[in-house]
Subunit: 337 residues, 2 copies
């Protein structure tokens, strides 16, 4: 089924059908109606490839996700869902590319094959060759997270430094003097993963400013590691009365560790963090945390990308989100024994 067939059945030329659909030229009401009737009857839709070839745009966005081998976190998942939804809302499709490195085949297909009009890049590293690759190709893109030198790049990110600092201040206000940071995994820190670095920075800054004792212990991104992390913390640093964390995946394990050692939250230990609302509310007691707005982030990323596609040479915009900390039940005054 193609436009020629529609034209033939409606007794008009192909261009008239095309114009009737696009509205870029006036078509008599009568003709338009006849064409529409045929289209409805046959269920015609323009062939996407032909249209893309002619128009030079694909009406498709690319979303580069971490390789499937790495389990996606809840936060990342929420982000993928919101990007897809926001794109669908703009009548755009989303092409997925699971790739980490620069030389990934599907990543290369996406960009040099001109399969998409723009790209959203997740899980950016502080030094990220994919960014330079996209810049050299001149394909519009938006990153989630930002590189060490994000000038000239559109990005959306969570201000982990600010959020961790805020939770430290909140805990300090409650009288806590020894606070531990439950950061993302040592591997990620080593790989130059921005959130982990910035959490570190924000923690150090706030702890320094308030004259507190700050403890940092590495922890892998999974429940088992969280449980072990808590044991180690109690063993090595019994003076710690509060924890701040950005490691969502370790939360269930942290909870198990706390329960196993019979530590009362928040009476004996306060916990504040950065997490998707879903996780914060699933914690027991519910977690005082900055709720990461994954849904908004996806929508913002799509919005920024569409702007960039419309005006590739404009000044790049970026968004640094610092959602407020929602007070729940996991933080309270420091114990005074």
């Amino acid at each position: 089924m193609n436009i020629g067939e529609i034209a033939r059945r409606a007794g008009v030329s192909r261009s008239t059908v095309s114009y009737a659909l696009s509205g870029r030229r006036s078509v008599s009401a009568q003709t338009k109606q006849r064409i529409q009737a045929v289209i409805d009857e046959l269920g015609y839709r323009p062939n996407a490839a032909a249209r893309a070839l002619k128009e030079g745009r694909t009406r498709t966005l690319g979303l580069v996700i971490p390789p499937a081998s790495l389990r996606l976190t809840d936060m990342q998942l929420g982000f993928v869902a919101s990007v897809v939804e926001a794109a669908a809302h703009a009548d755009l499709d989303v092409l997925l590319s699971p790739s980490g490195g620069d030389h990934d085949r599907s990543f290369e297909r996406l960009i040099s094959g001109r399969r998409v009009d723009g790209i959203i890049l997740m899980e950016i590293r502080l030094e990220d060759e994919r960014v330079t690759r996209l810049q050299q190709e001149g394909l519009p893109f938006v990153t989630i997270g930002h590189t060490a030198h994000p000038q000239g790049v559109c990005w959306v990110d969570i201000d982990y430094a600010e959020l961790v600092a805020r939770s430290v201040h909140h805990l300090a206000d409650l009288g806590h003097r020894s606070i531990a940071l439950l950061n993302r995994s040592a591997e990620l820190v080593a790989a130059g993963y921005g959130p982990a670095h910035r959490a570190q920075a924000g923690f150090a800054e706030a702890v320094g400013r308030r004259g507190l004792r700050g403890i940092e212990l590495p922890c892998a991104d999974d429940p088992a590691a969280g449980e072990e992390w808590f044991e180690q913390l109690r063993e090595r640093h019994p003076e710690v009365t509060a924890i701040t964390t950005i490691n969502e995946a370790a939360l269930p394990g942290l909870q198990r560790g706390i329960e196993r050692l019979h530590v009362a939250v928040p009476r004996e230990m306060s916990i504040a963090g950065v997490a998707a609302r879903h996780w914060a509310e699933g914690f027991r007691p519910q977690l005082t945390a900055a709720d990461v707005p994954t849904g908004e982030m996806g929508a913002h990323a799509v919005e920024l990308l569409l702007e960039r596609i419309a005006a590739p040479t404009g000044a790049p915009r970026h968004l640094l989100l610092a959602p407020p900390i929602s007070l729940r039940d996991s933080t309270g005054p420091a114990r005074t024994d």
Copy 2:
């Protein structure tokens, strides 16, 4: 950058470049080398739209996921990841369509716009209009899960009836006489969601055959509901000594409920289920469960779809997976007090 430009720079015709790339005609080593040098220098790749238009295939698969508003379960997520990976392995891209109903715009774009060579449909209902829509369009597709009348359709599914029955038999063998089924939500059952129906059927059949007392209580698909479910169970059916479940999302809540009421597992209560390995191992104590092989399922679905695309008229294949139950720590002999 297009094939003409490459041809010009290499001093050959466009067809020679095309043949050098496809290998469908012999090209002298010297010419081939010259062409390759130019391609490498300029980073040329065939335009996907032009190629799709000419060849009549897009080298893209469509994956229809549940709408973003519904939180994807871990199992679904694992499935998406494995489909994307399997597709990438075959040098295919994956286009995502978040849609529930038949008249969804992105779903329609996918199929009548010929944006994909085939489609994988997740979260099939017993009566699913998307299936009939795809059949009428004549687009190859594979479903995850199957409809009430799956004749002539390719599908991959988990044999929930068999797995639930097996877990009931396992529990009966351990001496349990009153067993509760923690099924998916009442809404899903009402909507004709296959796994929920088949779990029910398998449960009823096995319970009947072993002469047991079978309890069914509805439970929404989230942790809070799981916790409440367990309370209700203890209140209304204190005689129950074993639970079988396919409701992954309710597991964390079930666990909390068990801990809150200080019920010892498996001494006072045995639990067996169907769940992604990740969830089973995250449960405390680790859950005796049939581990849903999401990774394999995605790969199988892609494999079946590729077969179907290659031979659309062949006999439709299907796969009903019944992975063995992995014995872990949550099941034991019935208490005898």
